[in-house]
Amino acid sequence: MDQVADFSKEEEIETIFNAAPDAVIVINQQGSITRWNPKAEILFGWTTDEAVGKCLTETIIPHRYREAHQRGLKHFLATGEGPVLGRTIEIQALNKNDLEFDISLSISPALVQGKRLFVSFIRDITEQKKAEEEIRKLNAELERRVLERTDELYKSERRYRHLFENNPMPMWVIHLETFKFLDVNEAAIIHYGYSREEFLGMTALDIRPEGEIGLFKNADHSANIRPANYNRGIWRHLKKDGTIIHVEVIAHDISFEGKTARFILSNDITERKEAERALRESQALLLAIVDNSAAVIYVKDLQGRYLLANQLFSELFHLSKDSIPGKTDYDIFPREVADAFRAMDVRVAIADRTLKEEETAPQDDGLHTYISVKSTLRDSKGKPYAVFGISTDITELKEIEENLIKSLKEASDYKFALDKLNEELEERIALRTIQLEAANKEMEAFTYSVSHDLRSPLRGIIGFTSVLEDDYSSKLDDEARRITSIIKNNALKMGHLIDDLLAFSRMGRQDMAKTGINTQSLVKEVIDELSVDTQKSIEWEVHLLPPIRGEINTMRQVWVNLISNAIKYSGRRDRPRIEIGHFIHEKQIAFFIKDNGVGFDNKYRDKLFKVFQRLHSAHEFEGTGVGLALVDKIISKHGGKAWAEAEVNKGACFYFSLPAH
């Protein structure tokens, strides 16, 4: 080997040794350091001079490894085996300051000039280790967060599922291409009436009313609704039972199980719609009432600006209804009128209660007087915000009132004179009463004596004529017997006449002791009584008859007279028919007795009820002409009225009415 070359080789190695980026330490087989490069000085703190000659165990090997090192060294020297040799291991080392740090170490054994040497290459891996630890930590954190996030997502999914399933609002998801239902919630099932299975076999078209399917189909569904936005619309939906509901629908586009889908929330607003309609109607009704009112109606805010005025207001003051809001009374009326209106409005607002006052307003035909009732209107917090008024025109009433006052004044002027007249009148009435009472007594006495005096001679005439008939009949010829009979009949008739007249005059003087009368049974009694003497069978039709109040004997007389008349005048019919009933006439109970007899000429009907007035001759029908006069007198004494209607040969109908009690 060339010396120079050897030298230069030595130099080259020395240069490499000095410039090596790793610490290079060489030890001999005793474990003493023989070489220590500059990098080793930097890494461990010992200078070359300090380090050379020292053992590794005195310097860089941590105390815990020192024994193992010496054992390993001995073992190698004895056997040539060393598990750490020929490869790179990571281990800790000590620096001069006794601080431990991570290193990578590779030891190569060499034999130089028969001596065992060990060359160690050492690199500080503290930073690398730190970085590795950092990465490990980061990974762990990442993994933890991934787990956490997964859990959150799971929970969130469950939460949203729960929200969807248990939401009180009907919700569903439809496939945007086919409109098929992909999912529905419980509320939708309950509200629409379809089962989940039915829903999932249907499309969104199936819940549209007949006429609106096209409308839905043609709607621009493809218009992109981004998940952050939503679409809102009012639709009509069809329930399974056929009812149509109004719904407000909110739609989101979502991805559902990989499909383009739309999430729909349906809010049934049928009731709201109905309420809105009812409100509109009730408002229209109120407005109609306000507008058709005969009073002037208006609302003004607290500053006096009109908020509302009715039709009459706009007509009276020649303003279109639209132009009134915003105006004040000063825009519409003369200053002094507006002042008065405003003053009352302010009083109402301050008093905060209803006030009622008279107001005047000019109209086309002059000044009108109103009675105005005004009150405050309150907002939802109870704070007054307006004055509301109803003014009724009392101009005419005012005039009447004034006239009345004037009349009253005039009347009071006459009162004195009237009082005097009244006094005189009362005196005269008292006098007249005495005279009347006297006359009544006289009349009574007269009646009595007429009754007595007229009846006695009649009794004689009839009595002795009867004696002639009974005892001397054989001595009389036919003509004499006929004449005797005529005398007797005439006398008898006169007797009836006197009896009737007396009854009639008695009526005028009697007081009425009124009691409740069962008309039905009274009429039955009278019919039974009168039927005994009738030859022909009469067809009776007696309706239900109400009870009345009256004097029983006179009322019986009325029924007897009227029913016997009906029997008498219908007696010549083949089939006599009498109908008795009642009805309400001018607030009284009216009874009628209708026969199918000979009737009479209606133009004489008023004469019927006068004493001795007869429409038939005694030759045709017996009678004294007092019966109906008596009926009339009895009924009028009861506070009622009697009348009749008839037609010749078509029957007659007699009526009488009595006060309902």
Binding site: E444, Y448, S456, R459, G495
Partner: protein, 147 residues
């Protein structure tokens, strides 16, 4: 006629009525012991055995029935009734009041005074006759006077 045995005392100022009544009673054989007086005064004299009847009859043998018209001159029927019914000796004598008029305001008064019956003389002869006949039958044949 034996004044002591008068069954019927008819007090009637109207001779026609009286005749008709008597005739009817006779027809039924009820007028055999009948006395007709024309007014109240005479009726009282008979009943109380005064005046022209004093000593002629005995007050203790009263007629079986007195038919007494109300309207009479001098003493009227009511006064006669009152006297008969207020005297212990005569008050049990049956008295039937006869009147022409339904209008008589004295019906109640007559009953209050003790009249035994009150008859309105009907205008109709048949009914008058019937009434008289019934009166006679009742008071003379059916009625049992106190012993």
């Amino acid at each position: 006629m034996n004044q002591k045995s008068v069954d019927v005392l008819l007090v009637e100022d109207n001779v026609n009525d009286a005749e008709l009544a008597i005739r009817e009673l006779k027809k039924h054989n009820l007028a055999n012991k009948l006395l007709h007086v024309m007014d109240g005064e005479e009726a009282l004299e008979f009943i109380f055995a005064t005046g022209k009847f004093a000593g002629v009859r005995d007050i203790l043998f009263p007629p079986k029935i007195v038919l007494l018209d109300i309207q009479m001159p001098k003493v009227n029927g009511i006064e006669v009734l009152e006297k008969i019914k207020s005297d212990e000796r005569t008050k049990i004598t049956p008295v039937v009041m006869l009147t022409s008029s339904k209008e008589d305001p004295d019906i109640k008064r007559c009953y209050a005074l003790g009249a035994n019956s009150y008859i309105v003389k009907p205008v109709n002869f048949e009914r008058f006759a019937e009434a008289i006949k019934n009166l006679g039958f009742y008071w003379l044949l059916l009625n049992q006077p106190p012993a």
